[in-house]
Subunit: 325 residues, 2 copies
């Protein structure tokens, strides 16, 4: 790769002049400036990022930490972050923690030495660890609330309420709930409203990994519970439920209704198409970057925003309850 020295030699000036011509053009003559710029262009010179970062104290990189890139939920947020960061920054460092809070903590502390700020999407660490990390550099949370740290959240409770009211309107009285990870903030939000809708009894099927095989495995517990509908932690779990129901010969929605959460693209690829709660994931990615830039610019102010609105999308996987036997 061409160095500043190569540019200086090609332009016939000293390295110091070449450096000034590129970083403070007003300090050198127009002739020399032109020579240096032409040489830099011709050689494909790009300034060394490490040297720039050391001089400015800014890396112009932004970090994004997610539990699982292969979950479309996080891939969509990542695309939102990247699109918003494209104008002002050079790269987004994306790291995947495999849903492991220990790996997550290590990755965060490590990334903080390389980036100006971090977006943590659905972190699984305890609040105290998140706060500890926030003392080492600016952090914005997505889909998690921790005291004193700016965050972009979704109105998860409203989503659960909308789903339960929809099921009640369809005359469901017993609804099974397949929960997500015990370490998930969003899971805790869901649980605060499960008992709130009068006329609906919720059967708790416990905590599960937020993945397709977990939904597949939990389905038999749902059938045992006698529920006429099942509310799932997320769409991947709901897709697993639908597959297992098909294998068991149980029809959706005739025999049992299924509701997901997130509205990932696959929710519309399956038959029947999944009724689910739609979250503005791309917008959350945008807002997190805006918030991080504000934190970097204004030092110390914590922007607070209301949770982003969510919306039940009724498709084909929910129908009026069949008569209980």
């Amino acid at each position: 790769m061409a160095t500043l020295r190569d540019v200086a030699i090609a332009a016939g000036v000293s390295p110091a002049t070449a450096s000034r011509a590129l970083s403070a053009p007003d300090t050198v003559s127009a002739t020399r400036r032109t020579k240096v710029l032409e040489a830099a262009e011709q050689l494909g010179y790009q300034p060394n990022r490490s040297a720039q970062a050391l001089a400015s104290g800014r890396s112009r990189h932004l970090g994004l930490v997610v539990p699982d890139l292969s979950n479309p939920f996080f891939a969509t947020v990542a695309k939102g972050v990247q699109a918003q960061a494209r104008g002002t920054r050079n790269a987004v460092l994306v790291a995947d923690t495999d849903e492991d809070p220990r790996i997550e903590h290590e990755l965060v502390r490590d990334l903080q030495t390389s980036v100006d700020g971090l977006v943590l999407c659905s972190p699984r660490m305890p609040a105290a660890l998140v706060q500890e990390c926030a003392t080492q550099g600016p952090i914005v949370l997505v889909n998690r609330e921790v005291e004193g740290i700016p965050s972009v959240t979704f109105d998860v409770a409203s989503g659960i309420r909308q789903a339960l009211l929809h099921l009640r309107a369809l005359r469901h009285r017993t609804v099974a709930y397949i929960g997500g990870p015990a370490t998930s903030w969003s899971e805790a939000q869901r649980r605060t409203v499960l008992g709130e809708v009068e006329g609906i009894r919720v059967v708790d099927i416990g905590h599960h990994r937020p993945v397709y095989p977990a939904g597949f495995a939990a389905t038999d517990l749902v059938l045992e519970s006698g529920a006429t509908a099942v509310l799932c932690y997320n769409d991947l779990v709901a897709l697993g439920v639908m597959s297992r129901l098909r294998a068991r010969g149980v029809r959706v929605p005739e025999d049992i209704s299924v509701v997901g959460f997130d509205d990932i693209p696959t929710a519309t690829y399956v038959t029947p198409m999944l009724t689910t709660v739609s979250l503005p994931l791309t917008r959350a990615g945008h807002e997190a970057v805006t918030m991080l830039d504000a934190a970097l610019a204004e030092d110390g102010t914590t922007p607070t925003t209301a949770p982003l609105p969510v919306e039940l999308v009724v498709r084909e996987s929910t129908a009026p309850a069949h008569e209980s036997p």
Copy 2:
């Protein structure tokens, strides 16, 4: 964040001594070394990555550039890259180009100033541009071949052959092919063998974006062609085809057979489950990192490997051809 200066003050030594105690412990006394290490631990000191990178000429970061993170194909490769890099490196910078060759070129040139080496997965740039980028830093390609640049590829041609032989065995004689992007190397590989299987006539439906809506839109052209089976550039396209066929009242596989490519998880979530060509995506991510490390260590040697084997997975979306009208 604690600086080296803070550590030196806390340990009661000069910054120079603190620096040596951390980077070249043999050059300071055991007592001072212990004091410095204790102070560093207590203050949560982490060395500045930019300074380290400038000193060593190594960033210990690896870059990964993909056309679209929301395509599970790339998310899976990314997870493979990340898992393999975890042991030896601190972070993988993932960048998404939105399938745009111009954005891709910019991102690559920019990332090269921040990483030790780059993995380019399915790059859309012309070969000459890839070669130009490779003069600026080590590059390993995945799912693309460019002369002089190490690459991990899949035996795409074999996958297409397996699919066509499967369809011929099911007595299909006219097969529609929905192609991928004209800028895709993998698409070019597919096209070299489309005419190779005797007894099968392939109707070319043209180039399309490798996404669900493109498959949905191309389906009406497939039906018009009179083909009894359709071979799709990838699974996302095949999923779009299956949805549109359902909307048109055409049954899969009774009326028409559908074959995908990639074997993304969603291929097994849909009804009928998709017959597709399975690629070892995670393994490709692993091998790319191994190859990049070899390139960084041995300078200049270009490891050549055979294309990774691929395998047709027959599920529910293919069946014997119906009698032509």
